[in-house]
C-alpha cells in the first residue's frame, strides 16, 4: 500500500500533529487501535482508517471511551501493543477502568492519547488531563511540535511495553492541529510481536487482597520510570549561566522559543524543556532550581508543575523563587492564568519583568464590532426541521435537554432548542431528573452516535424508574460533528464487513420503551402529528427522526436532491418562515426574501411551512 504515512525511513513530510502520532505508532509497531472520535483527537483514528488496508493493525471505532479503553486493555493483556485515542472529556468516561489497569499493568503495552482543549475551541470544558497522569499514576509525554508528536508517540509505546504500564500521551488542540516537518524513522518489517498471556489471577484480578499489593507494585513501577525521566532526552536543559530559569512544558515551549528568538533574550535565561512530565524527575529539577535564583513555570491549564516545584523546593530547602500562575498583590489576573491558552504575548509579558525591565508590555487591541459568524446548522440539516416542529408544538412550556453533537447548535434563536447540557449522553438522564423535580414537560435531543455512546444507559434507567420525558433521537446515520466516523447506527452498506449495523428502533424497544415511532426528518406533517400525540402522553416516549446528515448524504451516500427552493410570493408569510426557520440559504435584502440556490440543499422544509416557497428543478451548474 502506498500512502505518505507509510513512507520509508528518511522521508521528511509536513504532517498534522495527529498524523505524526499515527506515524509514531506505526514505527513502534502498534497492533491495535481503538477510539471514540472527538475534536481535537479525531484525525488520529481517521488517518489510521485511511491506511487500514496496509494490514499492520486492527482499528476499531468503539461506542464510547470506556469501551474503547477496555477493549484495548483486554488486547494489551493478551499481549498486543495498543493505542486508544479520545478527547480530554472522554478520559472521564474511561476513568473507571483506567485507574485500575495501572494497578494490574498491561503486558502488551498501551498508550492512551488524551487530546485536551484549553480555550474550549470545541469542548464543554477545559479540564487539564495531566491530572490523570497523577491520579492514575501514568507516565506522561507532552509534545510541542509535529516531530515530537511522532517521536514521543514512539517513545511512549516503547516505555509502555518495557514497563508494562499504561502511558499517557497528552496533547492540546494547538499540537494536534499544527503542521510541521517530520523526519521519518524506520518502519518495522512487521508489527510488534503479540506476547503470550501468562495466567496470574493474583495480578490481574484485583480483589482487595490483590489490589493492596498491586498498589505497591504500581508505586515501585513509577519509581523505575522516574529514573528514566531523570535522563530522558525529552527533559533537557539549555541556555547558559543565568539567574532566571524557565521550566516549560507542552506548547508553551514553542511560545517560549519564539519569544526568546524575537526578543533576543536567549542568553538571559536557562530553560528546562519538560517533555516527559510525569513522574517528576526530581533530581534533574533539583539541580536546575539550584542553578538559578528565580524559576518561571510555563504550563497551560492548572499550576501543577508550579505546585510540584514549590513542594520540591520546600522539601529540599532550595533557595529559589518560583513564579507561575496568577497576579501578585492587587492584580487579579496576570499574563499567565488557569484560563484558556497561553500565547507568545502572554509568555513575553510574564518574562519581560524578569529579563528586561525596559520592555514595554503589550497592550490589548480594540477589536471592531463586526457581524459575527456563529457556527450554524447547515442548509438542509434535518435537525433544523425537528427543532422547528418541536418548538412550534411545545414552545416555552417545555424544557429542552440537549446533548453533544451538531444539534447542540440548535441552542441559538430562533430554534432555541437547548436549555441545559452536561456531557455525552446526559440529555436523557439529566432530562429525567429535571422532569421529575421541575414538573414541566422535558424534551431530550440526542444523536445516533451519542445515543449508542451513553444515551442507552440513561434510557434503560428512565424506563426502569418510570421517568416522564420525550426523547427525540436525531438519527442522521453518522457521527457528523467530528467528521462522519462509523457508529453502530451507520448503514451496513457503508460499514462494510468489519462492523455490524444495529437498528435503533429495535434497540429502543429492547430497552423496554413501549411508545416508539420513527419518522423522516423532512416530513413536517407526519412529524408534527407524532409530536402532538406524544405530547399528550406520559412516560418515556421515543421519537426517532431519520434523515441522513446533508454533508454525509452528498459525500458518502452520493445522494443529491434535484429540487431547489425559491420564493414565489413576497410578504409576511415568507418573512415569518425566514424568521422562524432561519435557514442559512435564506437571503433578505430590505423586505425582499430569496433563496441562495448554491446553498439550498433541496430539503423543501420551507415549502411545507409556507406557501410562498416553491420548488423547481435544480439548474445544472
Amino acid at each position: 500500500m502506498n500512502h505518505p504515512l507509510l513512507a520509508p525511513e528518511g522521508a521528511r513530510q509536513l504532517l498534522l500533529g495527529n498524523e505524526a502520532i499515527v506515524r509514531g505508532a506505526l514505527e513502534a509497531g502498534v497492533n491495535m487501535v481503538t477510539c471514540y472520535p472527538g475534536t481535537p483527537s479525531s484525525e488520529v483514528p481517521d488517518n489510521f482508517r485511511r491506511i487500514a488496508a496496509c494490514g499492520r493493525f486492527r482499528l476499531e471505532y468503539s461506542v464510547n471511551e470506556k469501551v474503547a479503553l477496555e477493549v484495548a486493555a483486554g488486547a494489551a493483556l493478551a499481549g498486543a501493543l495498543c493505542l486508544v485515542t479520545m478527547k480530554h472529556v472522554g478520559v472521564n468516561v474511561a476513568a473507571d477502568p483506567l485507574l485500575t489497569m495501572t494497578y494490574t499493568g498491561l503486558p502488551g503495552g498501551l498508550v492512551l492519547l488524551s487530546a485536551d482543549d484549553p480555550g474550549c475551541h470545541s469542548s464543554q470544558n477545559e479540564q487539564d488531563n495531566r491530572n490523570y497522569a497523577r491520579f492514575a499514576s501514568m507516565p506522561c509525554f507532552e509534545p510541542a511540535s509535529a516531530q515530537e508528536a511522532k517521536d514521543m508517540a514512539k517513545a511512549a509505546f516503547i516505555l509502555a511495553r518495557e514497563s508494562q504500564q499504561p502511558v499517557l500521551l497528552r496533547t492540546t488542540t494547538r499540537v494536534n492541529h499544527l503542521r510541521g516537518p517530520v523526519l521519518f524513522g524506520p518502519l518495522p518489517e512487521t508489527p510488534a510481536p503479540v506476547l503470550p498471556f501468562v495466567r496470574d489471577p493474583r495480578r490481574f484480578v484485583p480483589v482487595p487482597a490483590v489490589a493492596r499489593i498491586r498498589h505497591r507494585a504500581l508505586a515501585a513501577k513509577l519509581e523505575a520510570v522516574r529514573e528514566q525521566a531523570e535522563t530522558s532526552p525529552f527533559n533537557s536543559v539549555s541556555g547558559g549561566e543565568a539567574e532566571v530559569g524557565i521550566v516549560a512544558s507542552g506548547i508553551s515551549r514553542a511560545y517560549l522559543h519564539d519569544v526568546l528568538l524575537a526578543e533576543g533574550w536567549q542568553d538571559k535565561v536557562r530553560v528546562f524543556d519538560f517533555g516527559l512530565t510525569w513522574p517528576l524527575p526530581e533530581k534533574a529539577l533539583d539541580r536546575f532550581m539550584c542553578s538559578v535564583k528565580t524559576v518561571l513555570v510555563l504550563e497551560e491549564g492548572e499550576g501543577l508543575v508550579e505546585r510540584d516545584l514549590r513542594a520540591l523546593a520546600q522539601e529540599r530547602s532550595i533557595p529559589v523563587s518560583i513564579m507561575g500562575k496568577g497576579g501578585s498583590g492587587e492584580c487579579t489576573e496576570g499574563p499567565l492564568s488557569i484560563f484558556g491558552e497561553y500565547s507568545t504575548l502572554a509568555v513575553r509579558d510574564a518574562l519581560a519583568p524578569l529579563v528586561d525591565k525596559n520592555a514595554a508590555l503589550s497592550c490589548g487591541v480594540n477589536c471592531l464590532e463586526l457581524p459575527q459568524r456563529p457556527p450554524n446548522l447547515c442548509p438542509g440539516c434535518a435537525h433544523r426541521s425537528v427543532f422547528f416542529a418541536v418548538r412550534k408544538l411545545f414552545g416555552d412550556e417545555a424544557f429542552y435537554s440537549s446533548d453533544i453533537g451538531c444539534y447542540t447548535l440548535g441552542l441559538l434563536p430562533p430554534l432555541a432548542a437547548a436549555d441545559f447540557l452536561f456531557c455525552m449522553g446526559s440529555s436523557i438522564s439529566a432530562g429525567s431528573g429535571f422532569a421529575r423535580a421541575g414538573g414541566r414537560p422535558v424534551v431530550a435531543f440526542i444523536g445516533d452516535s451519542t445515543f449508542f455512546h451513553s444515551g442507552l444507559t440513561g434510557l434503560v434507567n428512565a424506563v426502569f424508574n418510570r421517568h416522564n420525558l420525550l426523547v427525540v433521537i436525531l438519527d442522521n446515520g453518522t457521527t457528523a460533528m467530528t467528521g462522519h466516523q462509523p457508529n453502530p447506527g451507520v448503514a451496513q452498506e457503508v460499514l462494510g464487513d468489519t462492523s455490524r449495523h444495529l437498528d435503533i428502533e429495535s434497540v429502543v424497544r429492547g430497552c423496554g420503551v413501549e411508545r416508539v415511532a420513527s419518522v423522516r426528518g423532512y416530513n413536517q406533517k407526519a412529524m408534527q402529528q407524532l409530536l402532538l400525540e406524544m405530547k399528550a402522553e406520559d412516560g418515556v416516549r421515543v421519537l426517532i427522526v431519520e434523515e441522513p446528515c446533508v454533508l454525509y448524504a452528498r459525500r458518502t451516500l452520493k445522494k443529491v436532491r434535484t429540487q431547489r427552493a425559491y420564493v414565489e410570493e413576497q410578504g409576511q408569510d415568507a418573512l415569518s418562515c425566514l424568521e422562524s426557520l432561519a435557514c442559512p440559504a435564506f437571503r433578505r435584502v430590505g423586505s425582499e426574501i430569496s433563496v441562495d440556490t448554491e446553498l439550498c440543499a433541496g430539503c423543501m422544509v420551507c415549502m411545507q411551512l409556507s406557501t410562498s416557497f416553491k420548488a423547481r428543478k435544480r439548474e445544472e451548474s
Binding site: T344, S362, V365, L368, P371, R373, R587
Partner: protein, 199 residues
C-alpha cells in the same frame, strides 16, 4: 525582507482556506524553508471563521497573536477586516474584495461594511496592501474556487516571500488533484500579474 515571516490566513468555512494553507506550507517546505503551520477549524464546516497560520524561518509556535502577522491573506473581505488587529507594524495585506455574508446580514439584521471602507481602513495601517476580485479571477481561470490561488500568486509575486511564483506552480503540480492543476496554474498567473496594480 525578513528571514522570518509570520503569515495569518483567514476566510470562511468551505472556501478552501485550509487547502490554500497546506499548499503554501508544503511548497515552502519543499523549497528548504523551515515551516510550521496551525489551524483552528472545530466548526469550520458550519459557516464559521477559519483562521490558519504559516510561520516561516525558524518559528515553532503554530499561532499568531495581535500585532505579530507580517502578512495577512484574507480570502474573504469581512474576515480581512476582522483579522487586521493581527497585522504587525509594516506588515502587508492581501485580500479578496468579495464577501460571504454572515447569517445576521442574510437575515437582514446587520449590514456589511463597503469594500472601500475596508480598503481605506487597511491603508491607514499599511502602505502594502493588495485587494483583488478573487471570484472574478477564479472565474477567468476556470473555476471560482481557484480564486484563492490567485491570491497566493499575488503574494508570491510580491517579493515578500523567499520563494517566487515558480515554486508555487511546482507545488500546485505536486499537491493538487490532477484535474484542477491547469485551472489553478492559470489562477496563479492571473494573481501574479495583478500584483502590478497594487504594491
Amino acid at each position: 525582507m525578513s528571514a522570518r515571516l509570520r503569515i495569518y490566513l483567514t476566510g470562511v468555512g468551505g472556501q478552501g482556506t485550509l487547502t490554500a494553507t497546506t499548499l503554501l506550507s508544503r511548497t515552502l517546505l519543499d523549497q528548504g524553508l523551515d515551516v510550521v503551520s496551525g489551524e483552528i477549524h472545530g466548526m469550520a464546516q458550519r459557516g464559521g471563521v477559519v483562521e490558519s497560520t504559516i510561520l516561516v524561518g525558524g518559528w515553532r509556535s503554530p499561532s499568531i497573536q495581535h500585532g505579530e502577522a507580517d502578512v495577512i491573506l484574507g480570502f474573504e473581505a469581512l474576515e480581512t477586516l476582522r483579522g487586521l488587529p493581527y497585522l504587525a507594524p509594516g506588515g502587508a495585506v492581501f485580500s479578496s474584495t468579495d464577501f460571504v455574508p454572515p447569517p445576521g446580514v442574510n437575515m437582514g439584521r446587520e449590514s456589511l461594511p463597503p469594500i472601500r471602507d475596508i480598503e481605506e481602513h487597511t491603508a491607514q495601517l499599511t502602505r502594502k496592501s493588495c485587494f483583488l476580485p478573487l471570484q472574478e479571477l477564479g472565474r477567468q481561470a476556470g473555476s471560482v474556487q481557484s480564486g484563492n490561488t490567485a491570491l497566493l500568486g499575488a503574494f508570491c509575486a510580491s517579493g515578500l516571500l523567499p520563494v517566487g511564483v515558480d515554486a508555487l506552480a511546482k507545488g500546485i503540480r505536486s499537491y493538487l488533484p490532477p484535474k484542477i492543476v491547469d485551472v489553478n496554474l492559470r489562477a496563479l498567473e492571473l494573481g501574479a500579474s495583478a500584483i502590478g496594480q497594487c504594491i
